[in-house]
Amino acid sequence: MAYTLKINEQLVEVDAASDTPLLWVLRDHLGLTGSKYGCGSGYCGSCTVHMDGSAVRSCQLPISSLDGRAITTIESLDKQHPQLIGAWVRENVAQCGYCQAGQLMSAAALLNASAHPTDQEIDAAMTGNICRCGTYVRIRSAIHHAAAERTSTGASE
């Protein structure tokens, strides 16, 4: 069945079964491989994208539920959150890197909602994103740095 989706500010046509999760639409049908498969059940957060600005698990969203929704993936995160990308690189957060797209999308949604999150707020917002390499302490640090930079550049105003 054909669907029209809004992905990263672009309208795209996808022909897929109605129960196809957004994750596989992105990866198999659109070639946007930045969002990762980690568990298929919403436990790990590796597939996190934004739907209308909120962090969601793309493995849990069938294509049939996306009508009229705006989806943002890691591939275009730098347009809204260049500070987050910069802090992530400078802090050398990633180890293997597989979960990091999901981590970044969750972190971006957090900063959209809270300009200066505390460690507790970070832990609460990021608890759905597993990192098996254990980069958590750097994730906290990078979010703080990005928040500070967004304020100083006026990006979060």
């Binding site: 198999d28 990762k36 590796s46 995160l77 597989y98 597993i130 390499c133």
Partner: protein
């Protein structure tokens, strides 16, 4: 030739893939600075690991697998340093599996140790050749020209030539022997923190892992495997004959219980045009499986057998008997005795196993996240009965591995399916497949028994260990733990005891076991460190004071069983130093609030020394870890920031197994299936972590990826004892 093809010339020669195939593959090459950089073919390639093109781009070829430890960066740092290259003009290519690179088995935390001198020599030789080329052109003595930061400069500093400008001339020179290496003080990148070369691409979602590459006309396979090892397909009750997107349903024969090496498990492969179609059909299948001896396997029964084993004499480690343990025990005294238990664990890297294969009569091409592409290549060639030269195994980044991806069974699955279907196939493991069909970290039981004096010093110490050996995967008759497993924290117990004996027992499991980050050091480091803490507590002594008192003040450990490699014997002074440093780093003597305890553990593994202190308390009946302090002596280190990251990650990995990890088998089938019932640590549980590196430049390099893990679980158990008075002797801690 575009930059992408140039980075991996082998791809461009793969005619059977066609032009579009090259581009797709090229796009998958994880490489620094590959986007938008066109440069000439490399005229100057003094060795396998380094090439300089005429535009000055330095290409370092990494022949070890990148799984987050930062090896692609570290290898480039070493080469670029001795070359005195401009870091901004260094890019990293990834080597395929090929014996010409030497050892490629990225395992055992050994990449830098194996390659450090070789990489330095590669850079230094090229640097000398660039100087020789410039000296020749200027008709001056080579001693009168310097190579500094991507330029060769003459004695007056007036004439300068960039490395790129000299590359063609240098390529004509013979590779020198004995090129001068830099001194410590001259190092520009070695020993300095450097952001990983893949950090930017990863952060922008542009890097490529196993599932991120595609080949033209590629299909995706999901394989339903028998719940118990060795079962085959008797019948598929509801095999769909035709479904949209379905390519084929293929029955794969079951693997034998042991050997041939890393054989696929078999099962029913659902091959479809897209992943979701394959998943849906795979989940809908009702399959009847044949029986196998492993169908009756029960992990609880195995654990009981391991417990029984350590209550009886085992096989002594050769040469481990000192004094007369039995006589001291018979005489009696203040006896401390304890049993420690650890369960099966799954690796659960965030990227489940995945592989792409394209097999035809012309050859086999495999692209996958593998820890050892070279041995995988050999296994694939022999599996197909194909000449080695016709098999190409290339790597993506590994989305975590922790030992799982040193076993290329998933690549063999892709090879088999591609061969049958005569088209490229990607085999994607689901998380459930990963948790239920792993090469599991072995469960274990240790029994420690000692007679201590009033200072807690052991007069006699008997230690027994029992666990299923990794060798059971390789041979149907194997049972006893191997010396290399006992050498991991058991036969190399460093404490001075007059009367001592070490015994081991192995029991065959009904599942595949395999090495997981730190391997047997995980459970041996756990039991020995908790037992030492128990001896200190029994004598009412400070744990660190007691530990230092148990250690010789200097010299090297002469360990029974498998000896340490020459130059890497356990050095008591270095062990003491990490203990002293972590005492200071953690402010060990500073009183903590009521209910908050400190726990200490120290362990030498992979030739490195790690001491860890955790600060923990019980909050709402669950352990809460507030702070972690880690000191690492890994000898010479290349990238201190990577070392710190590995210690931070090791705390998280160690706490995952200490607090959550347990895999159980009932009737041969694994009970757990995904992160809801095999949880790993989440961010809220991760403590603030301070890491200190022992300045040890000039010493032999040692391991970094694994040695941070073993001290974590015992430090936690010891901290919880200090906090609550309760001693947890089984992992995971179930408070």
């Amino acid at each position: 030739m575009n930059a992408i093809a140039n980075l991996s010339p082998d791809f461009s020669r793969r005619g059977f893939l066609g032009v579009s195939g090259v581009l797709v593959l090229g796009a998958c090459l994880p490489s620094r600075g590959m986007l938008g950089q066109e440069h000439q073919a490399s005229p100057f390639e003094p060795n396998l690991l380094l090439a300089i093109s005429s535009d000055g781009t330095v290409r370092v070829t990494c022949h070890r697998s990148e799984m987050g430890q930062g090896i692609r960066t570290a290898i480039a740092q070493v080469v670029a340093d001795e070359l005195d290259a401009d870091w901004a003009r260094v890019e990293v290519a990834q080597a395929p599996g090929d014996v010409k690179y030497g050892d490629q088995n990225t395992d055992g935390s050994i990449s830098i140790l194996l390659n450090y001198e070789r990489l330095r020599t590669a850079g230094a030789s090229a640097r000398l050749m660039l100087r020789q080329a410039a000296a020749k052109r200027w008709a001056v003595d080579v001693e009168d020209v310097r190579a500094v930061h991507h330029e060769v400069i003459d004695a007056d500093g007036k004439r300068r030539l960039g490395y790129g400008e000299l590359a063609t001339d240098a390529a004509l020179l013979p590779v020198p022997i004995g090129a001068p290496l830099k001194s410590e003080a001259e190092h520009r990148y070695i020993g300095k923190p450097v952001v990983h070369v893949d950090a930017e691409a990863i952060t922008r979602g542009q890097s490529h892992f196993g599932a991120d590459c595609s080949l033209p006309n590629m299909a995706t396979a999901i394989i339903v495997r028998c719940p118990w090892l060795g079962g085959g397909v008797r019948a598929i009750r509801n095999k769909p004959s035709n479904a949209p997107g379905l390519v084929a349903i293929e029955i794969l024969p079951p693997a034998p219980s042991a050997g041939p090496l890393f054989a696929p498990l078999g099962g029913v492969a659902v091959v479809a045009e897209d992943t979701w179609t394959a998943i849906k059909i795979a989940r809908s299948l009702e399959i009847e499986w044949t029986n196998s001896p492993n169908h009756g396997f029960n992990s609880k029964a195995l654990q009981e057998s391991l417990r029984e084993a350590v209550m009886k004499p085992g096989t002594p480690v050769p040469g481990s008997g000192k004094g007369d343990v039995d006589a001291v025990f018979a005489k009696g005294g203040n006896e401390v005795s304890a049993i420690y238990e650890t369960p099966f664990l799954a690796h659960a890297p965030m990227e489940p196993p995945v592989a792409i294969a394209d097999v035809s009569e012309k050859g086999a091409f495999v692209r996958a996240p593998l820890q050892d592409p070279q041995s995988a290549r050999g296994l694939i060639a022999s599996y197909l009965g194909m000449a080695l030269e016709k098999v190409e195994v290339t790597l993506t980044l590994l989305g975590g591995a922790f030992g799982r991806k040193s076993k290329p069974d998933f690549a063999l699955e892709a090879v088999e399916l591609s061969k049958r279907l005569a088209r490229p196939v990607r085999v994607q493991w689901l998380r459930e497949d990963d948790i239920r069909h792993d090469y599991y970290h072995a469960p274990s039981v240790q029994h420690h028994r000692a007679i201590i004096d009033n200072q807690g010093m052991p007069q006699a110490w008997l230690q027994r260990t029992a666990f299923p050996s990794i060798t059971t995967v390789f041979a149907a008759q194997a049972q006893a733990p191997a010396p290399f497993e006992l050498e991991q924290g058991f036969s190399n117990l460093p404490y001075a005891v007059d009367h001592q004996r070490m015994e081991s027992t192995g029991i065959r499991p009904g599942v595949r076991v395999g090495w997981l980050r730190s391997v047997c050091n995980v459970f041996h480091g756990f039991s020995a460190n908790v037992f030492a803490d128990e001896m200190a507590a029994a004598a009412g002594r400070d744990a660190i004071e007691h530990r230092l008192a148990m250690l010789p003040t200097g010299g090297k450990l002469n360990q029974p069983g498998m000896p340490a490699p020459a130059g890497h014997e356990l050095d008591f002074a270095r062990l003491r130093e990490v203990i002293e440093r972590v005492r200071k780093l953690s402010q060990w003597q500073r009183p903590r609030p009521e209910g908050v305890g400190l726990g200490f553990a120290v362990h030498q593994s992979f030739r490195s020394y790690v001491a860890t202190v955790l600060e923990a308390s019980m909050v709402n009946g669950r352990p809460h870890i507030s702070n972690a302090y880690v000191v690492l002596d890994c000898g010479t280190y290349v990238n201190p920031d990577s070392c710190i990251a590995q210690m931070q990650g090791a705390v998280v990995f160690g706490l995952s197994l200490a607090l959550h990890g347990s895999i159980d088998m009932e009737d041969g089938a694994v009970v757990q299936s995904n992160f809801h019932d095999y949880p790993v640590l989440r961010i809220a549980e991760a403590p603030a972590t301070k890491v200190e590196l022992v300045p040890a430049q000039g010493r032999l390099p040692a391991g970094v990826g694994e040695p941070g893990v073993p001290p974590v679980a015992p430090a936690l158990v010891n901290a919880l004892f200090a906090a609550s008075g309760v001693r947890y002797r089984s992992l995971p801690v179930t408070a």
